[in-house]
Amino acid sequence: MKAQTQKSHQIALSVALISWGMLFATLFLGYAVYRFQMPQWPTAGVRTAPLQWPIISTILVVLSSVSCHLALVHYRTLRSAPFRVYTWISWCLGLAFFVSQFLFWENLSQVGLYTQSGIYASLLHGMTWIHAAHMALAMIGLTTILFLAYRESSMGSRQTLVSHLTTFWHFLGIIWILMFIVLFIL
């Protein structure tokens, strides 16, 4: 019976990730359309976005995915002390990601890439906003898990929640890396 509950949760998660995937795919499609229409990119008279904060965000995303994964491994093997440590690390890295995002947006304004500064700036802002909103959702989930981590009785009993949240975290990490490549590298 438990395996079957897990199976239906697995299906639900897959469908949900497809839905979210389509949301981001649409944004990437839009990006491609804008980009290929323009004779030059970024558009004339607009400077390229500064890279330092996105690079830091990317590093944080990768590290947080690793620590989320380690937390899950320890949760599965019912080792509560390392599970707590890695969940705390993930949480802090998540928070640091937000800090790096805010500094990135700040930085964009400093170099004159305001939300109103044309399509290049619109894409930089809009796509990172939507991603950050989902990161905020994931942070709420991570906070819940942090609470769970201190309730000894629940150790191991919320496998589905912990593993699905980890998957969601990885998913958002992958989206971020795609965004980093598409928006800042290509």
């Binding site: 299906i11 389509m22 839009g30 939300t115 399509i119 619109s122 802002h125």
Partner: protein
């Protein structure tokens, strides 16, 4: 591998029973009331639009002076734009979607597959609450200083940007649609999971009633394409709230322009599947009802299920036919045209199967069957007229005329509305434990059918004559003046159709309290919900049923128990030679 919910006690307080219920049957009724309410709102808007087109400059009768005190009861032009925009939005997203998918999806899926509830009851409840929130946002937008959204149900930029639509109306619209999208996606996740993992033991995919097939395919399309619209309206929202320039073009954007046409692409990547999101449940319901009331097995059951699946797949590849006039490359328009035409093939397959099902059947013309036959008729007409719009050469002439309006009303409004009524008359006894009145139901059917065809056929005629949609007063153009009598006819038909809904409302409410008590199986049908008392107990099935035959076992000559049908829980009766 069937997962089964544990039995649990029914809630007792009003709040837990009707407001925050986890029970799919209650959530279904919440969606039904929600949908019927918005059907009324959208219908009233339709009448206001029709009145303006038939009697320009004359005050709307009875409530006109109350609604438009500043113009002596005449619908003002800006309000007219808001009316047709919100009529479309409300009918599609707030009436048809909640009735067919929200109400009947919720009601039928667990009962027809032998489950005690949806896979995720909490998610199900949240889905309704998000829908309710979205409805409130949309209704609130009507009372804003500059009124609600007025850029059409498609909300194309640049009309829908701050330049074309100042004020908060369009912003509220985007917000409402986004929240509703969350609700629909939650529902879709639930439906897909439930159908995959909660089917009763013995029920393979090809033992499911076609209603479930339709709802399942709809849920899949919803899960994939609602987020596409979500992304589109989010970007539109950013343009309106934060000054981004995704959909602004030319001088409107300061440096580096956006692209208004991109919104059309995004909208129709979602929008064409949306047509099938609406119609697939109706197709499924009709496919079942035709068999149930012709007392014959569904002709070509597997072919019907598979051709519905084929249409679902194809529907994702044809959206460009909405954009032939956007300077699309001829290579693309012809590709989209060809792909669109291929949809006729699977459609023709299940349409022929429908005819095969009723061919030489012992047809019982009860109200659900009348409405189901109505769907067959109007969908045939709607489908055929779609060919003129899917063909580039004819579409260039017909684009944005009332021919389009007539066509999509036949497919999305008429078919789906009649399908929704068929479902309501059919499952009402199970939902409320009482029968609806047959005489009033038949009055309702004929008034609706006559009114509806008058309206929508009339629209195609004036469209063919060159009348454009969305004009406040088309008759300022001299060549349009000859179409005034036809428009008056359409409006009278619409009024007839409106009046025709009164017997339904009366019948629905009266029967809920005073209708004849329904037996367990008033229609003598073998699917799982009819093995239960009417209405079913809180967790549906005391024992989870074991399915032994298909949903359409009618007229088996080997049956000797006095019935002409078999329950799905019964072993298929074989002849002596077998």
């Amino acid at each position: 591998m069937t997962y089964v919910h544990a039995k649990h006690d029914a809630p007792t307080t009003f709040w837990s029973k009707y407001i925050v219920s986890y029970d799919h049957k209650v959530i279904a009724k919440q969606f039904l009331w929600y949908g019927i309410f918005f059907l009324g709102v959208g219908g009233l808007m339709a009448l206001l639009i029709r009145w303006t087109l038939a009697f320009p400059g004359q005050p709307f009768p009875v409530i006109g002076h109350m609604l438009f005190p500043h113009t002596d009861g005449v619908v003002p032009p800006d309000t007219y734009a808001m009316l047709f925009s919100l009529h479309g939005t409300i009918m599609i997203f707030y009436a048809i979607t909640p009735i067919l998918i929200g109400a009947f999806g919720n009601y039928c899926i667990p009962l027809m597959i032998g489950a005690r509830d949806m896979a995720f009851p909490l998610l199900n409840m949240l889905s309704f609450h998000f829908a309710a929130l979205s409805g409130l946002i949309l209704l609130a937008s009507l009372f804003l200083p500059l009124g609600g959204a007025a850029a059409g149900w498609t909300s194309y930029p640049t009309l829908s940007t701050l330049i074309g639509s100042p004020g908060l109306g369009q912003t509220f619209w985007c917000l409402a649609i986004f929240v509703l999208g969350i609700s629909s996606t939650m529902g879709a996740i639930n439906y897909i999971t439930t159908i995959i993992s909660f089917r009763a033991p013995g029920m393979g995919y090809f033992d499911m009633p076609l209603t479930i097939w339709g709802l399942w395919l709809t849920a899949i399309l919803n899960a994939i394409f609602i987020p596409v619209l979500g992304a589109g309206v989010l970007l539109l929202l950013f343009d309106r709230l934060f000054g981004t320039t995704f959909f602004l073009a030319g001088a409107a954007a300061t440096s580096g322009t956006g692209d208004p046409i991109l919104f059309q692409h995004v909208f129709w990547i979602f929008g064409h599947p949306e047509v099938y999101i609406l119609i697939l449940p109706a197709w499924g319901i009709v496919s079942d009802l035709l068999s149930f009331f012709a007392r014959k097995p569904a002709f070509g059951y597997k072919a019907t299920a598979l051709s519905m699946t084929a249409v679902t797949v194809l529907s994702t590849l044809v959206y460009g036919h909405h954009m032939f006039t956007t300077q699309m490359s001829p290579l693309l328009t012809q590709t989209f045209m060809t792909l669109t035409m291929t949809i006729s093939i699977p459609s023709a397959v299940f349409f022929a199967n429908w005819l095969g099902t009723i061919w030489r059947g012992s047809i019982r013309f009860d109200s659900p069957m009348l409405f189901a036959l109505g769907v067959v008729f109007v969908f045939g007409l709607g489908g055929l007229t779609g060919l003129y719009l899917g063909t580039v050469t004819t579409d260039l002439y017909l684009h944005d005329t009332y021919f389009v309006v007539g066509h999509f009303h036949y497919t999305m409004a008429a078919s789906v509305l009649l399908g929704g009524f068929a479902a309501t008359y059919f499952w009402f006894p199970k939902m409320f434990g009482r029968m609806m009145n047959e005489t009033w139901a038949k009055v309702h059917f004929w008034l609706t059918m006559i009114g509806l065809n008058g309206v929508f056929f009339g629209m195609m005629v004036v469209g063919w004559g060159g009348m454009h949609r969305r004009l406040y007063n088309p008759f300022v153009y001299e060549f349009m003046e000859k179409l005034i009598p036809m428009n008056t006819f359409i409006t009278w038909s619409a009024i007839l159709m409106g009046i025709g809904q009164l017997p339904f409302v009366y019948n629905f409410i009266h029967s809920m309290f005073y209708g004849e008590k329904a037996s367990e199986n008033p229609w003598q049908v073998g699917t799982l919900e009819w093995t239960l008392p009417s209405p079913p107990i809180h967790y549906n099935f005391e024992e989870i049923p074991v399915v032994k035959c298909g949903p359409h076992e009618f007229g088996n000559p080997n049956l000797n128990n006095g019935r002409d049908f078999q329950y799905q829980t019964e072993e298929l009766v074989k002849g002596p030679q077998a």
